[in-house]
């Protein structure tokens, strides 16, 4: 490895030498301690930016001083029809400590609506084809008072299969169709409350994706668009983002949208769990004791209990910025904050990338990270946490740590089971699967009803999850699942398996050569590598 690479280039980048401590890595619902080869570059997340002292005041200031629009109070008139749409359970991750950011935004906005004589208000969760949120989750998100006043008649989930409550807006100049929630689009004012956890969130995606139907979504959630998106986290380089912007313009032509976006810091864990994000070389005696205690507790619990425990720990996110007004300028300002929090300048790609897969993803809140979601986290998210160029060199090896258990949540992910066990053994070709089976799953009456009446992801959702890994799949030479407890899950996904990380690194080196440069993404928090030559 070149000596210049060994120099400390950023506070979030550490090189392993012969005195380095082993590193803590997530391994599903567990954490493991692993010795990493000397010379490995370990990338930690940036420390959290200090949160704003009074988030309610910040939100109030933003809606009173919006970008390229009149202040919210000036847009409100007595008797008008207002819809307030908001992000669903997939944001932020994990769900944040109460009061949720959406509750604070709603309190400010509803207060203003009330003061201006607006009482025809509907609150809609923009869940798109995600699972509908449960009543308990909705209550937790907006607080008791708002929930009791609006639920169920005026606070509900979007239903992408409810033909009576969807309206066609037309097509973009590239022939992408858009059909969206009727109530939202036919309102005199649509207010969108967003939590921008990562740069691929927010902007035009909020309305044009969050409130659309299956046919609209399949126009851009498809393999070629994903292949052409060179990091979802870098909007100008993302074909997906370009398509969504075109759809967003269609929305803007027919509806007045007042966007409120918030950016959070990356304070994912409460104080006691901070050791998970810190450089292990700097652990104090107390930190080591904490780790030992945590490790012992976790290793003595069954998997379901560990999952329950992890899902019960709310994130401690703090607001670092709020902007309101017209979608594009607002989103631009929020992206700047996102990058300030997450971006880590990284010099040079690597040949072998190691990343632990934690039990956190947008799609398994309060349920298991099934094999398809492990794939999404590895090739869809962790691979895409870059700007400019991928952290992993083309044809390189990605090593993940996860047990890869064959477990699915029957209520949340019913169609995933059929996709994984029936379709993937037949083909892993995303284009073939889309052509042959996507519509079949999307129109499966049982899946449609489970989405509409229950809390299941839409029948077509597992396809989108598979496409989501498409650019990663095209780029990497090999994926090795270290610590996979069975052989068939990695095999179905087209991956190799290894008993442990040491074996996986040896396998990767035999593929990439002994001098292969290794980089480890220290999970589980969000860091975005700005990779340059």
């Amino acid at each position: 490895m070149a000596l210049q690479l060994r120099r400390k280039t950023h506070e979030s980048i550490v090189y392993i030498d012969k005195d380095s401590a082993p590193r803590i890595m997530p391994n599903g619902e567990d954490f493991i301690l692993e010795d990493i080869p000397i010379g490995t570059r370990v990338i930690y997340p940036n420390p959290p930016i200090k949160g704003l002292p009074n988030r309610e005041a910040a939100i109030r200031y933003a809606v009173n001083h919006p970008l390229e629009m009149d202040p919210l109070y000036a847009l409100l008139e007595p008797g008008m029809r207002v819809t307030i749409a908001m992000d669903d359970i997939s944001l932020p991750l994990p769900p944040m400590a109460t009061p949720d950011m959406r509750q604070t935004m709603l309190e400010v906005v509803l207060d203003m609506c009330g003061a201006n004589g607006v009482d025809d208000i509907h609150l809609i969760v923009a869940n798109s084809l995600h699972r509908k949120m449960t009543d308990w989750e909705m209550r937790r998100m907006v607080g008791n008072e708002i929930f009791n006043e609006y639920h169920p008649d005026r606070f509900y989930n979007h239903d992408a299969e409810d033909d009576d409550n969807l309206v066609t807006l037309g097509h973009t100049k590239h022939n992408e169709p858009l059909r969206v929630n009727k109530r939202a689009i036919e309102s005199d004012l649509l207010i969108y409350l967003n939590i921008n956890l990562v740069p691929m969130d927010g902007g035009h995606k909020s309305v044009a994706v969050g409130l659309c139907d299956y046919e609209s979504l399949r126009a851009h959630h498809e393999p070629q668009t994903i292949r052409d998106s060179h990091s979802y986290m870098d909007p100008p380089a993302s074909e997906l983002n370009h398509k969504v912007i075109r759809l967003g313009h269609l929305v803007d032509e027919q509806c007045k949208v007042f966007h409120i976006e918030t950016a959070l810091n990356n304070k994912m864990f409460p104080e006691g769990y901070y050791i998970l994000t810190r450089n292990e070389d700097e652990f104090s005696f107390g930190d080591r004791m904490k780790w030992e205690a945590m490790k012992r507790t976790f290793s003595n619990l069954p998997r379901a209990a560990r999952r329950k425990l992890l899902h019960a720990i709310p994130a401690q996110y703090e607001l670092i910025g709020c902007f309101a007004g017209k979608t594009e300028p607002v989103h631009e300002r929020i992206l700047e904050l996102n990058y300030r929090q997450y971006e880590i300048p990284v010099k040079g790609q690597c040949d072998i990338m190691i990343t632990g897969i934690p039990d956190i993803s947008p799609y398994n809140v309060y349920s298991a990270l099934n094999p398809l979601l492990v794939q999404v986290m590895a090739l869809g998210y962790h691979f895409n946490m870059y700007r400019n160029m991928p952290l992993l060199r083309k044809g390189g090896v990605m090593i993940i740590t996860h047990p890869c258990f064959d477990e699915f949540d029957h209520n949340f992910h019913p169609s995933y089971i059929e996709f994984f066990h029936r379709l993937l053994p037949e083909s892993r070709d995303a284009f073939y699967l889309r052509e042959k089976y996507e519509r079949e799953f999307a129109s499966n009456p049982a899946y449609v009803e489970m989405y509409r009446r229950g809390n299941a992801y839409h029948g077509a959702h597992p396809f989108f999850m598979w496409y989501w890994g498409e650019n990663g799949r095209q780029h990497v030479g090999k994926v090795i699942a270290a610590g996979a407890e069975n052989a068939h899950v990695p095999e179905i996904l087209g991956w190799d398996r290894a008993d442990n990380l040491t074996e996986a690194i040896a396998m990767a080196r035999s593929f990439m050569g002994r001098n292969a440069e290794i980089t480890m993404l220290h999970q589980p928090v969000i860091g975005l590598c700005n990779v340059t030559e």
Partner: protein, 224 residues
């Protein structure tokens, strides 16, 4: 059964698409006997037999059917038919689950033939089949002699394996592709019918069926 035929959706009725069961129908007719004495006698008799019906159903659906339909012995055919419209309006229509029309509409949208197989009596469900837009249905038929029910059911008695057998024959006759077809039921007694299609779905399932569905990764749906 044809490999490249069209698909169908086969539904059980009671507990699957509607919340009522055979006893509700019997109770309805028991309350509409000729004269107060007959009405009281039949109603009390039906009530008294409930635990017995429950036990026999747990033991075997076939035994239950044999025992249950004896309760119709002596009912006049005219009276049974005359009250069938009222039965639909008062008992069956309100009992249709909220999700039932949506599920059927979704099946029709993708071109599936909609077929109901039920242990209920044919004349009691005619109106409901029409109301739900069901293409074909098969139900149990009472034997009548001189206009009065004998309490026997004409074969084949629709229950358990008989439903599966009927589906196979129907599919052969109508060029239905079973691999592409769906079956919906709430009860473990319909396991044979669920097992012969490509897409079995447990609807509002009882405990045993729910466990079975989970083990086999079948979809579990709540239409209530």
């Amino acid at each position: 059964m044809k490999k490249n035929g069209k698909a169908a959706a086969f539904y059980d009725l009671e507990g699957t698409l509607v919340s009522t069961n055979l006893v509700h129908t019997l109770g309805f007719y028991a309350r509409r006997q000729q004269g107060l004495w007959q009405t009281a006698k039949k109603s009390v008799g039906t009530l008294a037999k409930l635990p017995f019906f429950g036990i026999t159903d747990l033991y075997s659906r076939n035994v239950f059917n044999e025992v249950f339909f004896r309760s119709y012995e002596g009912f006049s055919q005219d009276r049974l038919r005359y009250f069938s419209d009222e039965l639909f309006e008062e008992v069956l229509k309100p009992a249709i689950y909220d999700g039932t029309p949506e599920l059927i509409a979704q099946g029709k949208k993708i071109g599936q033939r909609q077929v109901v197989l039920t242990g209920a009596l044919d004349f009691t469900i005619e109106r409901m089949m029409e109301h739900l837009g069901i293409d074909d249905y098969v139900a149990n038929r009472l034997e009548f002699v001189n206009g009065y029910a004998t309490g026997r059911v004409l074969p084949p008695v629709m229950a358990s394996a008989t439903k599966a057998k009927w589906i196979r024959e129907y599919s052969e006759r109508e060029s239905i592709n079973l691999s592409e077809s769906y079956a919906y039921s709430d009860s473990i007694s319909d396991l044979p019918m669920l097992s012969i299609v490509g897409h079995p779905v447990a609807v509002n399932p009882d405990f045993r069926l729910k466990q079975t569905a989970r083990q086999h990764d079948w979809a579990v749906l709540d239409l209530k």
